[in-house]
């Protein structure tokens, strides 16, 4: 693991951190004033629409746009040919991964072949969305339909239809020589698993599968692009990372990043699905062609069929333990699909499958597999939820076989400081044991569950927080309020958690900081909102910014008092010297009164390596044995937050992740028919949980400080979704005796299992 700096200050009490102020953008968001991309109305605006493939796999023989161009009110039509010649160049999008530009471009507008139903083929800009929609239907595409495949194991078979003829498997850096759909084969090993399993008293081995699921943000993808006559490109969009969006667009269009400005509007949910670009480069091409700003937004079925789900998977997990409950060996074989283009989330899947426990011997094989589905994207702890569904059920079964309480079994083997993960890194101080203890002492666990057809399940989850670059700046106003400018798009209240860290550092109130998220021309480079990094890394930048502002304020005070800056004491926002004391606000006023240089600060950081967050979930379910329907009666999420900056929004992350995970566990799936067409591309048939489907979600925040952050923050956004499907599956097993090894555990599937068992 990369060297990480010890930064934790060990403060015993805080003024702002840990309180629950109203979020700074709150009034805008409850009155309808907040501006999301779709709310923009520019003069002379054109509206774009995309033509999408009706086939799961086909060669494009020809595209005839002539009739579409004749429709009155149509301004421009584009296809892949409108992109500059994209080479097989790889753009480094940091933690968002290495992106092959040829593939990214071919995902935005198909090149030669369509690789999934819903794959974008061409786009129209017109006077209204209705006209654009009619024109799109007039584009004639001749297809040669090819055999298609959507199940990951079928796609790995030697006889499978091949998506990319030139693709060869990369096995730990070496290229194999046959055409294949397996883009990547990863392998991690620790110790000696043969010896490990030999020493085991009990071994459990099971196979698992999961369906593709979608992030399900309520705001569809939407963008406005204006390619001006001065060749400056301006993009307003719903993105998790304005700088990452800018980089992708610039690379795809062959322009310098500084020629493009991305304005991040309010974003209506992302969960990992709004990192890759879809509409942005297409709207830009249309704008250049028609000389107007172009707005494009997706309909819901386009979101399901054309944007990233998270992988469907097949997994085999084998774990051995001693009679006393000590784990001795683990082996996992994971195949995750990545849809139409290589580069899925198998890597983190492999890293996470055994990450909660101390395994002396372990081996993990992982496969990134192409198939005729939309190219997968990150979805909250990408790859970890599937892996936990497998591993945590095997752990549950082992504990039962050994007649050991499931929490005690996990405690005995829990990962802790010094534990080495199968992929190499050694944990610093982590809070898994504390989470297990908190679960054990929770009101939920201590209340016996009674009643027929009911069961309780428990499972654990793990995810990283990444670091990466964040920048922010601020100015101190005459009235002592601080204007904060940051680059992290705010999906769930992060403006406030960043502002609170600055306020804490300066010793002022949360509402004495006014945060705003700026465009890419107005703030330094800031990596995306994802990887549970914002409150951690941008928060670290805000802390450093606070030190910068404080240093400058000391200098101003020194000028006022005619003393050396280093003789000034700062405590809780009060600046004092030799019996004089000025509060931050008083000092700010004096700075203006005395005509001193205004205080303007800046900070940029790029913390290396990752920190870690663990969670433990408990669920009580009741199963209707006649229908197979599962009702979640009670649910508790325990998680180590390091330090909860704004506890309400930490709870919100835990609750939201739990409910997404419950949806994944019980009903959500991409349902494909025999032509590999998705049959449930609507909110009605995709069935995300409504509020009538879930109970209140109890939360317990554990605080084991992160040594690499001054206030001990760990990111909390992703871990909450990791444990739920395994937790529900373990609860269903307790209620019915059926070990459910495939997701979703939908009523027909569970009914079949119950009736077959009986």
């Amino acid at each position: 693991m990369a060297h990480t700096e010890e930064l934790y200050l060990g403060k015993k009490s805080y003024n702002v951190i840990g309180t629950r102020p109203i979020r700074h953008d709150g009034a805008d968001k409850v009155t309808g004033k907040a501006v999301y991309t779709s709310d923009l109305h520019l003069p002379n605006l054109a509206h774009g629409k995309i033509l999408r493939s009706p086939h799961a796999h086909a060669r494009i023989k020809s595209i005839d746009v002539s009739e579409a161009l004749q429709v009155p009110g149509v301004f421009a039509v584009v296809t892949h040919d409108d992109f500059p010649d994209l080479e097989n160049k790889v753009a480094n999008l940091g933690e968002a991964g290495m992106v092959n530009l040829l593939e990214l471009g071919a995902n935005c507008l198909a090149k030669g072949k369509v690789l999934y139903k819903g794959h974008a083929v061409a786009a129209v800009a017109a006077a209204s969305t209705h006209v654009a929609e009619e024109a799109v239907l007039k584009i004639k595409v001749e297809y040669e339909v090819l055999p298609s495949v959507t199940w990951v194991l079928d796609a790995m078979a030697p006889t499978a239809p091949i998506l990319h003829e030139n693709l060869r498997t990369d096995f730990m850096g070496k290229k194999e020589d046959k055409p294949t759909n397996v883009a990547l084969h990863l392998q991690f090993e620790k110790g000696n698993i043969a010896e490990g399993f030999q020493s085991a008293d009990v071994i459990v081995e099971r196979e698992f599968k999961t369906a593709s699921v979608h992030q399900g943000y309520i705001e569809p993808h939407v963008t406005v692009a204006l390619w001006n006559e001065d060749s400056r490109l301006k993009i307003w969009t719903s993105t998790q990372g304005s700088f990452v969006c800018r980089q992708q667009v610039a690379e795809l269009l062959g322009i310098a990043v500084s020629q493009c400005v991305v304005v991040p509007c309010e974003i209506g949910g992302g969960f990992g699905g709004k990192i890759a670009v879809y509409l942005e480069p297409v709207a830009a091409l249309l704008s250049r062609k028609c000389g107007r700003p172009v707005k494009m937004s997706m309909q819901r079925n386009e979101v399901f069929e054309g944007t990233g789900p998270t992988p469907g998977s097949f997994m085999r997990v084998k774990i051995g333990a001693k009679k006393d409950g000590t784990l001795v060996a683990g082996e996992a074989w994971l195949a995750y699909d990545c849809g139409g283009f290589p580069g899925g989330v198998i890597g983190p899947g492999c890293m996470c499958v055994f990450s909660c426990y101390e395994f002396p011997n372990a081996k993990v094989d992982g496969f990134d597999v192409l198939n005729n589905k939309p190219h997968t994207q990150a979805y909250r702890a990408p790859g970890a939820t599937q892996a936990a569904f497998a591993c945590e059920q095997v752990i549950d079964e082992l504990a039962a076989k050994l007649n050991i309480d499931p929490i005690e079994f996990r405690l005995k083997n829990a990962a802790k400081e010094g534990t080495r993960r199968v992929d190499g890194p050694v944990y610093p101080r982590v809070g898994f044991i504390e989470c297990l203890e908190a679960a054990k002492n929770s009101p939920h666990w201590k209340t016996p569950l009674t009643g027929k057809n009911r069961g309780r399940g428990i499972a654990a989850g793990f995810w990283f927080n990444i670091g990466c670059a964040s920048s922010c700046s601020a100015s101190v106003n005459d009235d002592g309020r601080v204007t904060l400018v940051e680059g992290s798009t705010d999906i769930g209240g992060s403006r406030t958690s960043i502002a609170m860290q600055l306020a804490e550092t300066l010793g002022i109130g949360a509402h004495d900081v006014q945060p705003q998220v700026a465009d890419t021309d107005s703030v330094g480079y800031t990596f995306l909102t994802g990887g549970s990094r914002v409150t951690f890394a941008t928060g670290l930048a805000a802390y450093q910014l606070g030190l910068d502002l404080q240093g400058q304020m000391k200098q101003r005070a020194a000028e006022i008092w005619g003393c050396g800056a280093d003789t000034i004491k700062v405590e809780n926002g009060n600046y004092s010297h030799n019996g004089h004391t000025l509060s931050f606000k008083q000092l700010a006023a004096k700075v203006a009164e005395n005509g001193l240089p205004p205080v303007v600060g800046r900070a940029s950081v790029a913390p290396e390596g990752s920190t870690n967050a663990f969670g433990v979930h408990i669920a009580d379910v009741e199963v209707d044995p006649e229908t197979g329907k599962v009702t979640v009666l009670r649910y508790t999420s325990v998680q180590d937050a390091g330090k909860a900056i704004h506890p309400s929004y930490v709870e919100g992350q835990l609750q939201g992740g739990a409910v997404q995970g419950i949806g994944w566990a019980l009903n959500e799936e991409y349902f494909y028919d025999d032509k590999n067409q998705m049959r449930n591309a609507s909110f009605l048939d995709y069935r995300m949980p409504t509020c009538l489907d879930v109970p209140m979600i109890e939360t317990i925040i554990v605080e084991v400080p992160n040594p690499t952050h001054p206030y001990g923050v760990r990111g909390v956004g992703e871990t909450p979704i990791v444990a739920p499907p395994a937790t529900i599956a373990n609860a269903v097993h307790a209620a019915t005796g059926c070990r459910m090894t495939s997701l979703p555990i939908s009523p027909p599937v569970l009914w079949k299992a119950i009736s077959t068992k009986a």
């Binding site: 629950r20 979020r23 409850v30 705001e219 309010e266 209506g268 949910g269 704004h646 939201g656 209140m696």
Partner: protein, 161 residues
């Protein structure tokens, strides 16, 4: 293209007039013609509730109403909930209870919740969940939304004469 129709309606207490084609939904009219963008489009087929507005005193999905149907109607949108620069208790409770994260579903929830509390000032948790089931939220897990509605019910009861 069919000829545009002239429509007169009352929106948040004010008379509005607009022209629309029969195929324009009330949501399109509100957002694009009248530039009242508080109501959001999440699915455009009645399954998410982000576009919820009040039509003649009833909550509806404005994506499923034609603009021309609004002739003579009384409409209320999220922009009309606060009055005289004061947030309505339901808005205040959403903020204090952190009942929103990304905020895209919030206008729809606020309209539906306000309508619910006007119909039943003291709803059970089940009734709140039943009546809000046409409004999807993907961020919060609903816990804090339901609690905010419960808190608003108490606030409104306290304020009632």
């Amino acid at each position: 293209m069919s000829k545009k129709t002239h429509v007169t309606a009352t929106l948040n207490g004010e008379t509005v007039e607009f022209l629309c084609e029969p195929r324009h939904s009330l949501l399109e009219v509100l957002r694009d013609t009248l530039q009242m963008t508080g109501a959001k489009e999440g699915c455009n087929n009645g399954n998410c509730g982000a576009c919820t507005v009040m039509l003649n005193g009833r909550p509806v999905n404005s994506c499923l109403v034609l603009g021309v149907e609004a002739e003579g109607a009384t409409l209320e949108t999220v922009e009309g909930i606060a009055s005289h620069a004061h947030l309505h208790p339901i808005q205040q409770c959403f903020l204090e209870g952190a009942a929103l994260q990304c905020g895209i579903c919030t206008p729809g929830f606020l309209i539906a919740a306000k309508a619910l509390l006007e119909q039943n000032p003291n709803p059970s948790e089940h009734e709140i969940r039943f009546k809000l089931a046409n409004n999807l939220c993907r961020c919060t897990g609903y816990d804090k939304i339901v609690k905010a509605v419960q808190a608003a019910a108490l606030e409104l009861q306290k304020a009632a004469p």
